[in-house]
Amino acid sequence: MDPLEQLVAQIVGLSDTDIPRLLGILKASDDLLRADWTRLSSVLSQLDPFKHSLGFLYILEASTAGPTTKEQAETVVPIITSFIDACAAEQIRSIPDKFISLCKRFKDQVVLLETPIRGVAPMLAALKKLQTSTEHLTPLHPEFLMLCLLAKCYKTGLSILEDDIFEVDQPKDLFLYCYYGGMICIGQKHFQKALELLHIVVTAPMSTMNAIAVEAYKKYILVSLIRHGQFSTSLPKYASSTAQRNLKSFCQPYIELANTYGTGKIEGLETYVQSNAETFESDNNFGLVKQVVSSNYKRNIQRLTQTYLTLSLQDIANTVKLNGPKEAEMHVLQMIQDGEIYATINQKDGMVRFLEDPEQYKTCEMIEHIDSSIQRIMALSKKLTVMDERISCDQAYLSKVGRERPRYDMDDFDTVPTKFTI
């Protein structure tokens, strides 16, 4: 009997009864599959993607191992798509590496076909099947977000970003996840969330500089200007010393932009942006830089609301340096619509009346909102305690602490050493 047919028979026989044994057999027959990869696609038809997920995965993975042309990709993509849809989560989780490499290849093919949108839904399904809980960051997360970015399906991407993640397999996954996630949030104008994600990248522990962190820092500066109208160059002290020392020197034009922004003078900002347009463009950040410039107008108008109760559109235009009352009206209108200021425009005499924030913190919704925040924070701090306890019982941690302090003293274990400031 042909060894391949024998293998298929074993897959069919063992899939229902003995997964670990099947896994052993499959691992052993890796070479066989590689040698025979041309015949594999015909074999696939004999297997059921749900029942025999494990075997199907192995054979499919092996069959796509070689370099692919566009035509081949066209045939393989539907097969992988349907497999991802149908496969059984328990079976594929027993050998995640294979599944991940299959999915990555799938992504490459979709990108090769220049139809990233075809990959978005399957990748999301794959990611859901692979992850053990919503707190788990799988290596497929960054792939999925990248496809979302390429396909401009920002909303789909956001659905994943809403989950808090705590468990990470590979730091690189986290860097990419947060970087792509930040870009998706920027695309959807969720600047606060974007800032959080980019902040994670910038402050993440790292022993050497990496390009992801540098790019993230550039975007972090810009988004911080858009969202808060200011940027402080000092990183929090929990950021890695590598980042503290090196990040700034890589992003000099951006830091200067932030300084120019800080002066509040729109002309200076515009000339600076124009003279450095090439730098920003080559970083693909020019769009964001433009948003920074327009946010300066907003910031200045917002400052006026602190000072004035009523102000004519003409005066607004003069103070904020807009071309005439018409433009000022557009800006104010836009800001009212976005909920950034509270005001009414009286078109008859061209006056704007600034109002106070109407939120009185008396509604049921507000109470519920506060309550849910409290619940959430309580859950978080519980998690923190658990984590703390787990670390203080961790064998590797304790042995390390013991080694660093040779004098064996019970007091040594009471406090977390300063080296581990998180």
Binding site: F166, P171, P205, T307, Y308, E359, S373, I391, Y397, F420
Partner: protein
């Protein structure tokens, strides 16, 4: 003009006499709305500060050539009394023949003075060397001190300072130390080295023996000047306010009592709050003696305190041109004036719920638009809690809603905590991962 002075002179004399001083103080107040009377001004001072002040005036009143020439003429006369030939040359250059042949370059005088200086220097050197070989401490101190005096008289301030400071090693009594400090302070003030002034003031104050009233007052003035130059107006005000009236004309090679009143009054006005202004300036019996010398400053402080801002600002406006010609206050007039004006604006708005900008502009003698700009700046700085109704020209006080602000803050800190804890957990997981990776590699 002259008649005015006759009447005001004795009056001040009389009041001043209450302060307990009995020197020759038949002087007129220097500060008035009219053009500065240079002669009267100069008569307040002696020594090099007189020349320096005159030259300063000459340099800073470009628009007024009669005044400039007057100042230069007096400076020339004053220099001729001393021995500083270098300064004479400079002044002659500045006069540029505009005052006739009498005020040209006096080469004969210069060469005599120079020759005499050369001889004197030689003599001093010989003396000092003799003292040094004999190792008599007191004589060496005297020798250095004479050298300091000599250089000071000839305008070589750096050398003078060095020599005065050198006497320090030979000081045996507190009196000597104080003498050394006073000389050093005098030279430093003229050099504009106010950090030296501060350090020597504190050195002099640290001497174990109690200082006599006059020295104490002098030190206060010097410290006040140093703080003024360092832009520490509040400290400067305190120092000037502490100055004892015994100062009188004893220190007019540096500062006149009128200056103490002006400097102290303006600095206090710019930096003190109402209670402090009342306690430390208006109710201050000691300082009142000084204020009487410059009635304008006294009046404007009282006006400020009783909220007559228009008249206060008017006084200030009148004083301004003359203050700009003051060698010490010159750089600080604008800042102090701005601060005083801001304080006036803040005080004006403070008690009201709503203020009509028209009335306020009237009270401050300014336009509504200008007032609006000033208020805007103050509101942005958070110095006035109010908002401007630019349509109806009314300023409304804004009372922060504590409840809403608290809610906002609570929600904000909740969000922050949430974010921080999440990223902290994530980071700790990453560190753990990294750490585990290392150990597994080692094993």
């Amino acid at each position: 003009m002259e008649g005015d002075d006759e009447t005001s002179g004795p009056m001040i004399d009389e009041i001043y006499a209450n302060g307990g001083d009995d020197g020759n103080r038949n002087r007129r107040p220097i500060s008035s709305g009219d053009q500065l009377d240079i002669e009267a001004y100069a008569s307040l001072y002696t020594g090099r500060t007189k020349i320096a002040r005159l030259l300063f005036i000459a340099d800073h009143c470009e628009k007024n050539s009669t005044m400039e020439l007057e100042a230069l003429r007096m400076a020339y006369d004053e220099i001729k009394k001393g021995e500083n030939t270098q300064l004479l040359r400079e002044v002659v250059q500045k006069i540029d023949g505009r005052l006739g042949p009498n005020y040209g370059m006096d080469a004969a005088w210069c060469s005599t003075v120079d020759r005499r200086a050369e001889q004197r220097k030689e003599k001093l050197e010989n003396e000092l060397n003799a003292y040094k070989t004999n190792l008599i401490k007191e004589s060496i101190r005297m020798g250095y001190n004479d050298f300091g005096d000599f250089y000071y008289a000839h305008g070589q301030l750096g050398d003078a300072f060095k020599n005065y400071v050198r006497t320090r090693d030979y000081c045996t009594t507190s009196k000597h130390i104080i003498h050394m400090c006073m000389s050093a302070i005098l030279v430093s003030i003229e050099m504009g080295q106010f950090t030296h002034v501060t350090s020597y003031v504190s050195k002099a104050e640290q001497t174990p023996e109690a200082l006599d009233q006059i020295t104490g007052a002098k030190l206060r003035c010097a410290a006040g000047l140093a703080n003024l130059e360092a832009k520490k107006y509040k400290l400067a005000a305190r120092k000037f306010l502490e100055t004892a009236p015994e100062l009188g004309s004893n220190y007019n090679d540096v500062i006149a009592p009128q200056d103490v009143a002006t400097y102290g009054g303006l600095c206090a006005l710019a930096t003190f709050d109402r209670a402090e202004l009342k306690n430390k300036v208006i109710d201050n019996h000691v300082f009142r003696n000084f204020l009487e010398l410059v009635p304008e400053v006294r009046e404007l402080i009282n006006d400020f305190y009783s909220s007559h801002y228009a008249s206060c600002l008017e006084y200030l406006g009148n004083l301004k041109t003359n203050l700009l010609l003051d060698i010490h206050l010159h750089d600080h007039v604008e800042t102090l004036y701005d601060q005083i004006r801001h304080k006036a604006l803040i005080q004006y708005t403070h008690p009201f719920v709503s203020v009509d900008l028209r009335m306020m502009a009237n009270a401050f003698k300014t336009t509504i638009a200008g007032l609006e700009k000033e208020l805007e700046a103050l509101i942005t700085d958070n110095q006035i809690q109010a908002r401007i109704d630019s349509h109806n020209k009314i300023l409304y006080a804004r009372h922060a809603d504590q409840r809403n602000a608290t809610f906002q803050r609570v929600l904000e800190s909740g969000r922050e905590f949430d974010r921080d804890v999440r990223s902290m957990l994530l980071r700790s997981n990453l560190i753990k991962h990294d750490y585990n990776l290392k150990t597994s590699r080692k094993l």
